[in-house]
């Protein structure tokens, strides 16, 4: 494991700050114990992975999954995309046979992207590129129930704005109520930090005065009996967002880290995959800081639009940029099957997988570098989840969705294993409920069992637990 340096959380003026709610962490048992505050960071890739399949390119060999189930080792991970994570082999749980439900979204990308964190079908069936999910996403549920003061969880996006499904499309407050994403990582950081520490003293009193005035105005508006349900919900969200500055000042980076963040963020709205993944890494730096200092208990990071249809990732063989990722995933120079076959597109697809693996590795490194008050790393306190909308490339299957889980959430998850779920049905809802339970969501005091589509099998995936 790489532990080259460890961050020390700093408050205003660079003074180390206490992280009260992270104190008292104790070895955990099978579910979240009192006083523990595990977190989840979701890292989403589109278009499936280059797994073994038979396509018009030919019989494509396995290029993603470990060579065998069981212990994750250099031998089982080597030569596959997940091999990029071998330094964290003993902190990983790789899950096969996680299956989404085959809801009618009218489009395989919408089905995967919008079901991914929601585990429900479409708000309007068959709407294709105009689809919306029909429920709350797990990242939002975690934030809503577990964040301090009900603070919004962070939803971040890297890649060109717009595109299929409108760009950011995985995080929902509720049915057809899509969340806006933080696009520029520098804005993500500022959102969390709130204010420059040097300005803190002057700002705090003034902003409190302004906030009080604005709250009064919001309360007046909210008191109107004529408000529609929609407007009431929107204004309540606005009212809750008005926060005084002291609540977030413990989360800031040292100056050199801020400069590094700025440099990494430059290509957040780009089609250049190198820049996009650099921006994703910048989001990850902010995410790691945010969960470590207690700003939020969940983060969702989306790379690329609903089909990541404009990003051109690096050709790891020849250098330069490849055809856009969506074309590669279809193996053709077209957003459908009408274009010419792209030679070696299965290999090129695996290059994308490898680059996502490297980005995920960066997140694990970041989390591993934060030393928490209990003396353990942030990585051991929470989970980072790299998942995909689809199981594979051209087929865009809802089955065998890649789930790579880093960290144990204080000992909740197995570690160092590649497991295959025994339930061959649509078990994706169970996966999200298991993750929700790991970070502390409950239903009537027990494991989370009221998330997602109640028409699907409930419960959690016991075979993933330590």
């Amino acid at each position: 494991m790489k532990i080259s340096r460890r961050h020390v959380l700093r408050g205003a003026g660079g003074v180390a700050v206490t992280l009260p709610f992270l104190e008292g962490l104790a070895p955990r048992e099978a579910k979240a114990a009192e006083g523990e505050r595990p977190f989840a960071i979701f890292f989403r890739q589109a278009n499936g992975v280059a797994s073994a399949q038979n396509t018009e390119v030919g019989n494509e060999p396995e290029r993603f999954w470990p060579t065998q189930l069981g212990a994750l080792t250099e031998a089982t991970m080597g030569g596959r995309a997940v091999g990029e994570l071998v330094d964290f082999a003993d902190k990983l749980l790789i899950v096969r046979n996680c299956n989404m439900n085959n809801y009618d979204f009218g489009d395989g990308h919408a089905r995967g992207a919008m079901q991914g964190l929601v585990a429900r079908g479409a708000a309007v069936a068959g709407a294709g590129g105009s689809s919306e999910a029909s429920g709350e996403s797990i990242d939002h549920r975690i934030g809503r129930e577990l964040n301090p003061d009900g603070r919004d969880s962070l939803f971040m996006y890297a890649g060109s704005s717009g595109g299929w499904l409108g760009g950011p499309c995985i995080s929902y407050r509720g049915s057809a109520d899509r969340r806006s994403a933080l696009h520029n990582p520098a804005t993500s950081y500022q959102t969390m930090m709130g204010v420059d520490a040097e300005e803190f003293g002057e700002l705090i009193a003034r902003q409190k005065s302004v906030n009080d005035l604005v709250r009064d105005q919001m309360d007046t508006l909210l008191a109107s009996s004529k408000l529609s349900g929609l407007d009431k919900t929107r204004l309540e969200l606005h009212r809750a967002a008005i926060r005084d500055l002291e609540s977030s000042l413990s989360c800031n980076l040292e100056q050199d880290a801020e400069m590094e963040l700025d440099g990494m963020s430059a290509g957040y709205d780009s089609d250049d995959g190198i820049q996009v993944l650099n921006a994703a890494r910048a989001h990850m730096k902010v995410a790691a800081l945010a969960v470590s200092c207690g700003y939020t208990r969940s983060v969702a990071i989306q790379v690329g639009s609903g089909n990541d249809g404009s990003t051109r990732y690096e050709n790891l063989g020849s250098g330069g940029l490849m055809e856009n990722y969506h074309f590669l995933s279809h193996r053709r120079s077209s957003h459908d099957s009408s274009g010419a076959v792209i030679a070696n597109s299965d290999v090129l697809h695996s290059y994308v997988d490898i680059q996502f693996a490297r980005a995920f590795n960066f997140l694990l490194e970041e989390l591993d570098q934060y030393l928490m008050p209990n003396g353990d790393s942030a990585l051991n306190n929470g989970v980072a989840i790299w998942y995909n909308d689809n199981g594979n490339g051209p087929g865009h299957s809802p089955n065998n969705i890649p789930y790579v889980i880093g960290g144990s959430a204080c000992g909740y998850f197995k570690q160092g294993q590649n497991v295959e779920l025994s339930d061959g049905g649509a078990n994706h809802r169970k996966m999200l409920q298991t993750i929700g339970t790991a970070v502390g969501l409950t239903t009537n005091g027990g494991p989370l069992d009221d998330f997602g589509d109640p028409g699907l099998d409930g419960g959690i995936l016991d075979e993933l637990l330590a």
Binding site: S130, D152, P168, V214, L221, K226, S228, L230, S338, A340
Partner: protein
């Protein structure tokens, strides 16, 4: 000669082909719309402003609009878009350019395929955006008071009088007069202001805190429609609310003093008052901004950037072809609508455009006659007719090698005719080899096999709208040959329920110009953009009236004046949105 504004509706006969799904008779019936016969205000063929007096007018919303045109339920709280925030702050502080502080706002979500950036029901203020508003308000106040004190000198019209400043600035910031209670609140805060700043004292500190506070107020951040009184089956908006609807639709910014004064004088409750202000506003350069935004979204101009002709096949294609096409589109739209006072038909048919040395050759022009700057040029009328024979649409709907008739067709059907096309099936068969045949023949072989899943939509709807553009290659340049064979751009396109043979793109456009569906679609999109929401059933009658005006070759500006003077634009629904 441009036709005058007429109120008579055009019979819109819209039939479906089994795949196609545009505006239907059922939509119209559900909306309480007309049967195609204009029984509204009629119109006398003269746009004389008198609007024929008192025909169907009902309480609260005067003449000038069809009483069957009803507003659909919508939010009462229209949060400023980020562009509106920038434009409003610019105008509020009387700056020459925007501050750029909104760059730190997180972008709004794009929901449900709605293509404009002003989805009123989806825009919200979450903690990330609130933090952005805080920072931007602070930065704006610092700019106006510390960085460039001349700004304060401009916005303070009565130096040394806090209450006068609060009332004056507040009226412009909130787009209405402040109540005495509101003034008292800001006066109370004023007295504390000096204690909040280390670099501002006295009156300056008061101005700075007031500015900072008002820019974070919901009264600034939302365009609020609080009117309650029902009259004639609708809730007429107050004059100030009408003023804001006008300014944010036509200018994407706040009302100016003249518009606010008109509201204060109760001049916006009548057709004439609104029409007069709208005409004035459309002559202001700020109107170009909103019109540009509309067409940018409708024509998916951002997608032009994706143009990437294969360099091995098109070695002379500009490296930045997409960006050049964006510039061309912007200049063309502005020229037609504002310089020529042109119509939608002009956008569809003009063979003038703007080129520079890099793009001229793609139109068959002598590049040596042009420099790096874009200039107006007249294109070969036998090859070019309007905006869809210009580079942007063509190059952004092409692969690096060949035109993409499928996506050209899908775009035209969905965006320009407002048809609906179901998603393709999961298992699309492979494209046959291209050797020995044209691009069209390969597409036909793939998508038009009798009895196949694809054929239903492709053979009658998608391909007929795409094949006429086969004369334009991946760079948008004209071609007569494809893969060594003569290009065949002829198809039969179904419009208005009638199958019409067209020989090529030029004939297709001629058919479009006379099509109710095409003009309905353009009007439909303007109504969506004006309302900040997707189309609702109630919009049917207004859309049809505006479409009729468009089809009669009225200018886009005149159509917009009819839109903003309509009953739905000046009133809100008696029903609240769920």
């Amino acid at each position: 000669m441009r036709g005058s504004i007429l109120g008579n509706l055009t019979v819109a006969v819209l039939l479906s082909s089994g795949c196609y799904g545009g505006l239907t008779a059922e939509d119209n019936a559900a909306s309480g719309g007309t049967d195609g016969v204009d029984d509204g205000d009629g119109g006398d063929g003269n746009d004389d402003g008198d609007d024929d007096g008192d025909d169907e007018a009902e309480g609260g919303v005067d003449e000038g609009s069809n009483p069957e045109e009803l507003p659909a339920p919508n939010t009462r709280f229209y949060r400023l878009t980020h562009a509106q925030w920038e434009n409003t702050v610019r105008d509020l502080l009387q700056l020459t350019d925007v501050t750029g502080f909104s760059v730190e706002f997180r972008p709004d979500a794009e929901e449900s395929g709605y293509i404009y950036a002003n989805n009123a029901q989806a825009t919200e203020v979450d903690s990330a955006l609130w933090a952005g508003y805080q920072r931007a308000a602070t930065s704006t106040a610092t700019l106006a008071i510390v960085t460039d004190p001349s700004i304060m000198d401009t916005i303070v019209t009565t130096p040394g009088d806090p209450e006068a400043f609060i009332r004056d600035f507040g009226r412009r910031a909130f787009r209405r007069s402040l109540t005495d209670a509101e003034v008292a609140v800001y006066m109370g805060a004023w007295s504390d202001a000096p204690s909040y700043y280390t670099d501002s004292v006295g009156f300056e500190a008061g101005v700075r805190l007031t500015l900072e506070s008002m820019l974070q107020s919901p009264m600034f951040l939302y365009r609020i429609e609080a009117s309650e009184g029902e009259a004639g089956g609708v809730i007429p908006l107050s004059d100030y609310e009408v003023a804001s609807r006008l300014s944010y639709f036509l200018w994407d910014s706040m009302p100016d003093d003249e518009l606010l004064d008109a509201a204060a004088a109760d001049m916006l409750g009548e057709y004439e008052g609104v029409a007069e202000q709208a005409a004035r506003m459309l002559d202001n350069p700020k109107a170009a901004n909103a019109v540009e935004q509309f067409h940018y979204a409708l024509h998916n101009v951002k997608h032009f950037e994706s143009a990437a002709p294969n360099a091995a096949i098109y070695p002379d294609a500009p490296a930045d072809l997409g960006l050049l096409a964006q510039e061309e589109h912007s200049r063309f739209v502005q020229d037609v609508i504002f310089e020529q006072n042109g119509s939608y038909i002009d956008l569809l048919t003009s063979n003038e455009t703007f080129v520079n040395a890099e793009t001229a050759a793609l139109y068959g022009l002598d590049a040596s006659n042009y420099g790096p700057e874009f200039e107006k040029a007249t294109l070969d009328a036998s090859q070019r007719r309007g905006i869809f024979t210009q580079l942007g649409f063509l190059v952004s709907n092409a692969t690096g090698v060949q035109p993409d008739p499928i996506h050209r067709g899908v775009f035209m059907v969905k965006r320009i005719a407002c048809g609906q096309i179901p998603a393709p099936p999961d298992n699309v068969p492979d494209l046959p080899a291209a050797e020995g045949q044209t691009n069209r023949e390969a597409i036909v072989a793939l998508t038009e096999q009798p009895g196949s899943d694809c054929s239903g939509c492709h053979s009658t709807v998608i391909n007929p709208w795409g094949f006429p553009f086969e004369n334009y290659d991946s760079t948008g340049a004209w071609r007569d040959l494809d893969n060594g064979f003569t290009v065949d751009p002829a198809t039969n396109v179904v419009l208005g329920g009638v199958e019409v043979p067209v020989a090529n793109a030029l004939e297709l456009i001629d058919v479009m110009v006379t099509s109710d569906e095409v003009h309905n679609c353009y009007a439909d999109n303007w109504v969506q953009f004006a309302n900040g929401r997707p189309r609702a059933a109630e919009d049917g009658p207004l859309i049809q009236r505006l479409a009729g005006l468009s089809k009669e070759d009225n200018s886009v500006k005149d159509v917009l004046i009819e839109l903003v003077t309509s009953r739905p634009f000046r009133a809100r629904s008696t029903q609240e949105v769920d």
